[in-house]
Structures are given as C-alpha cells and as structure tokens.
C-alpha cells in the first residue's frame, strides 16, 4: 500500500514538474523581443519595424498578431499569471489600461515620456491618456483622428464637395441617395458605436464626457435626441445594411457606400488596396451637428504599446519603447501604413491627414476621447450590443438606452 502510494506520488511529482516549466524571475539578455498585438492585419508592418530596430539598435522584434480582440485580451490577462509573457504588447488606453496598472502589471514609462517630450518626440497633450496616478505607462503605438473617408469618384460624379456644415453633409447624403448611391456605412458588430459617438460629440461633447464618467445617464434627453437623430438618418435610407459583411475597405473601393467614418488608420486599408488619396478617395473632418459649438469635435484615439512590470529583460523592453517613440522609428511606422504619427517631427505624406494632425496640434479642434476607450469595459460591452440591436431595429432605441444604463448603474455604483 505504501509502495503503491509512493508510486502515485512519484508520477504526480513528475507530472507537476512537467507542467511547471522552468520558473521565472531569472533576468535574461534578449536580442529579440516578442510583440503581441490584436492587429493581425498589420503583421507585415510590425515585421518591417522588427527588421529596422535590429539594424538600428541591435534589438529585433517578432510580432504575434491576434485578430479577435476578446481572445487577445484573455491571453494577455492570463499571461500575467504564467511564464509565457510577451516582452511588449498592445493594449487600450482608458479603463482597460487603468485595470492592468492597478494590478501592477505594466512597467512605468515616466522616464521615457520625460525624455521624449524633452526631445520633441512626443507631445505633452498626449500624456494624460497615458497617465495614471501621476505616472506614465506604455508609449503610443499609434494615434488616430476620426473623420469621414469618402469615395472621390462618386463625389465628383454627383458634383459634391466635402461638406463644412452638418446641413451640407445631410444634403450630400440626400443627393447621393436620390442618385441610387448609399451615402453612409455602418455595422452591427464591434464598430456599432461609431455614429453614436460622432453624433454625441458633434451635438454635446460635454454630455459625452459626462456620460463616460457616469455623471450623466444614457436615458437623459440629450442622449435620446442623439439616438433620434441617428434613427432619422437610418429611416431616410442613408446607411448600408448593417449586416453587410463586406470589408469596409472594399465598401469604399467599390462604392457600396460613398462615405465611411473611421480613424486615420483606415488609410492603411486604402494603401493596401492601391487607392490614391485625392484621386480615388478623400478625407474630411465631420462637421458638428450643433453649429453653435465653439470648436468642431474630433474623435481621437491612441493605442498603447506596453511592457510588463516583470519583463524577462526590462532594460531591453524599455530600450525598445524608447526607440519606438523616436522620429526614425515613427517615420517608418507611419509612412509604411500611410497613417499619422504620435511623433510631431514626422512628416505626413497624405495631405488631408497631415492637415488634421497639424490642426489638431494647434488646438483648432475639441479632441474627444474615442468611445471605445472612454467607456468602462462592462458598459462598453452592453453598449456595443445595444447599438448593434438599434441599427438592426431602429425603433428599439429607448429600450437599448435603458439596457445600457442598467449596466452603467451597476458599474458606477462600485466605481465612482
């Protein structure tokens, strides 16, 4: 009996040893870092950055791209408790960054920020998005301003110019609709929030801010009016069917919709499809719904590139983040994707994108944090589902707002 018990224990010990790995905590000197990200479609560009960093700072980088963000986030959260840790990883600013900082999982990058701001590689305006408890965490992987991409050929064909007021935008939509062209794109999955945030920010940006901090309710009259405005546009037949699964890049290229509201990163989709700015497509800032607002509201987002507090080689990770913010790295990162950059020194080749970056930097716009980052994760999940339901059945807007508010009430009751 004792022997058989010993045998069992022996097998158990072997099994556990096999599962246990080599144990962490030993500092390593790395020459290549792993970069986990939820931007699987950008692997080619990350690879190019890895090759460049190897050449410039002697530190390579290998990306592992996920395409499902839920799966990606679950992996990163689980990795905090295992030895399979990424050296670098992409994340989200706002509530999600706060969550992992509170758990002491993210490396402090205050020194990197301080140096980069001093060298003019990062702007002080960007720091608040990365500041928690007075310290900075992560560096900007990308920045994006949101506006309207439009099919230039369709606009030219129907004698339209980029609108400068909300009325002109609606008039352009009516003209296109009359000519048998669907004016706008929207979807029932993931990006279902786009028109909500745009209409909110263009109608009452203060209310939008209060909503994201739990100081206003989704059932408030101002929010209800925004949903009614959105419904009005849907009822007028200005949107593609939200169930259309065509890639938005193809929607723009083949003219299935004349206008698509996205961040400047959407320019990468145009680049990938060999579309030429100014000939095939254009970009304009979406005018405010409320013309009385002092500044045009522009949705802004910035995605962080982070390293772990308990990284395998903390010095290498910090060195890489520092390099990432430099003009040398950002020039490559922005131009290869045809996007804007967090580094003010980088010259943006695309004229319209260069202009919005310059104007935003000069304080011409009121920058509004993207809904995805501004809203706490549980409320966001309910809202994405809610807006998905609304675009399919626009008559349900009051029910949708009540459902989101129920989730918001639950969240803010413990997070104020």
């Amino acid at each position: 009996m004792i022997r058989s018990g010993m045998a069992t224990l022996g097998v158990a010990a072997l099994f556990l040893a096999a599962c246990g790995g080599t144990g962490g905590g030993t500092p390593q000197k790395k020459t290549e870092l792993t970069l986990y990200n939820d931007k699987g479609a950008w692997t080619k560009y990350f690879d190019e950055m890895g090759a460049l960093s190897k050449q410039k700072i002697g530190l390579g980088m290998k990306p592992t791209g996920y395409t499902d963000s839920a799966q990606y986030q679950a992996f990163i959260k689980a990795s905090f408790r295992t030895n399979v840790k990424p050296d670098l990883f992409t994340w989200q600013t706002g509530g999600m960054l706060e969550e992992i900082v509170k758990q002491k999982q993210v490396a402090d990058t205050t020194a990197v920020w301080h140096e980069a701001i001093k060298a003019g590689d990062l702007s002080q305006d960007l720091a608040p998005y990365y500041t928690i408890g007075g310290k900075q965490y992560c560096v900007p992987m990308n920045v994006a301003y949101w506006g309207m991409f439009y099919n230039k050929k369709l606009f030219d064909q129907h004698g339209l110019k980029p609108p400068t007021t909300w009325d002109e935008l609606v008039k352009a939509a009516a003209t296109l609709k009359k000519a048998g062209v669907t004016p706008f794109y929207h979807t029932s999955v993931l990006f279902s929030f786009v028109w909500f945030e745009q209409l909110m920010a263009g109608s009452d940006p203060d209310l939008y801010d209060r909503l994201s901090t739990g100081k206003a309710k989704y059932t408030d009259p101002g929010v209800v009016q925004v949903m009614e405005k959105w419904k009005e546009l849907i009822d007028a037949g200005y949107f593609v069917n939200p169930g259309d699964k065509t890639d938005p890049g193809d929607v723009m290229k083949n003219g299935k919709a004349a206008m698509i509201s996205f961040g400047t990163w959407f320019n990468t989709s145009m680049t990938q499809r060999d579309m030429k700015a100014g000939t095939d497509y254009g970009f304009f800032v979406i005018p405010n719904v409320n013309p009385a607002l002092p500044k045009t509201s522009v949705i802004f987002e910035s995605g962080p590139l982070c390293s772990l507090a308990k990284a395998a080689d903390p010095d290498a990770s910090t060195k890489y983040l520092k390099w990432w913010t430099s003009a040398e790295a950002q020039e490559k990162w922005a131009t290869s994707r045809g996007d804007v950059s967090a580094n003010p020194k980088v010259q943006i080749k695309d004229e319209a994108l260069g202009q919005i970056t310059k104007d935003a930097g000069s304080g011409k716009y009121r920058l509004v944090n993207r809904y995805f980052e501004a809203t706490p994760p549980p409320v966001l999940t309910a809202a994405l589902d809610g807006f998905g339901k609304f675009v399919t059945e626009p008559g349900t807007y009051k029910e949708v707002l009540a459902t989101i508010q129920k989730e918001a009430d639950e969240y803010w009751s413990t997070h104020q």
């Binding site: 022997r3 058989s4 158990a12 758990q103 699964k245 998905g388």
Partner: protein
Amino acid sequence: MRRSSPILGRFRYGYVAPAALLVAGLLYAPFVWTAYLSLTRYDGLAPPEWAGLANFGKLFDDPALLTSLRNTLLWVVGTMVLPVGLGLLVAVLSYDIKGGAWYRVPFMLPYALSGAGLALVWSPILSHGGIANVLLGVDTAFLQSAPVNTLAMLLVWTWQQLGVNTLLFVVGLQSIPKEPIEAARLDGASGWRLFRHITWPLMRPLTAVVVGLALVASLKTFDIVWVLTQGGPGRNSETLAVTMYKETFVASDYGYGSAVAVMLTVVTGLASYLYLKRQVAS
C-alpha cells in the same frame, strides 16, 4: 477467490495514476475552479472577491439569458429535426440500394471542416447582399433578425452534421440481424410498416447514441454562432455557450461567465441524464 498478482496489486494505483491525474487536472480541477469563480466577483486580474450567490441571482434577472435559453432550445429541437432526422432519412433511403455509399459521400465531405472554418465559408453566403441573396433573388438579411438567424445557422450546422449522422445510422442498419427483417417480409411487411415496427425498434441502441451526442453538441453550440453573428445583433442569436464566452472574455465578468458555465453544465448533464435514463428504462 483468486488473489491478483502481487506486482499488479502493489502498483495498481501507480498504473492508473497518470490517467487519473490527467482527468483530475484537466477536467475536474478546472470545473471546481469555475464553480468557485461563479461565487465570486472576478475581472480576470484582481483577486476574486466572494459574492455568494449574487451571480446566480443575476442569471434570473438577465433578459439576455432568457434569449440565450430560447435560442439554445431552438438549437436542440432543430438539431433533432434536421441533422438527426434527415440523417436517418438519408441512411434509410440510401441503404440497401446499389451504389448507396456513393450517394452518401457528398453528405460526408463537409464534416471535414471545423465549426469555425464552416462559418467562415458560409459568412459571405448568408450575409446581406451575399450569395444566397443573389441566388434566391431576395433581399433578406439572413443573419439579422431572430429567429431567422438561428434557423439559418441551423441549416449550416445541418450541412455539416448530416453526413456523420447518416454514417452512424447506416452502421446501425448494418448491425441489425437479418432474420427478424426477413421474417417480417415473409409476413407481408414492407416500406413504412417494416421500418416503423421492425427496423426502428432494432436500431434503438444506436439511435440513443446518435441522439445523445447530438443533444450534447447542440446544447454547447458556440463556434458557428460566434463566427457568423457573435451572438448578435443585439444578443438576439446568443446561445448559452456564447453568453458564457461573452460575459467572461468580452465583458471580463469572469464570475458571471462562470455562473453561466455552471448553469450550462447542469443543463447539459441533466438533459443527458434524463434522456439516457429514459432510454435505459425502455
């Protein structure tokens, strides 16, 4: 009574230990951990906080869960009628005819695809403006409104599962002894009467297996729904397994997601138990 070999006796626990540890480590331990998490508030990062039965209380107050239960029930009933029912029909019609195996081959091929791969293939067919719209000359968004979206996904599921059910039923038909069938034929039974009174009762053991497997598979439907609709729009095509995944990994509410997982386990276990008990009794 004969004693077992002394060597076998001494090390008997050692022999079963690897398998027992694997099952305990990979099956029972995660289940116990999930059951514990269902009694906590846990976001996947901070340590779980004890919440008692709060998550289970929320289950009964969640309209999305009711939709989820309704859809899961639709999947169970639909699976019995379509992949299982049609599988039986194809098996019976193609059995005992010349070249019957060749008729069954086209039904078998889709089984080689994974659920996610299958959904990716059908996505451009069923989405609005997709191939189905063009071929049928209609403007229906098959994946938008409930319950049409669930029914459309059931058809996809049928396309994949029909073959394997057919194959299992054919095996069942082949295992039936010839004598009762011949005796019934001599007594003048044929067609529906022969099937209803002789073939069908003799196939019962295999039918129990096919229905049992289909019951469990339909209760845990996830991949097709996740890839085709992600449970939407507005959660109207969610199944219990999708709700479990969404609450856990999308909303990061691991406690509530675990409560859904426990509920799904109980529902699946209970349904399987009741079904098998009934089969054994009869």
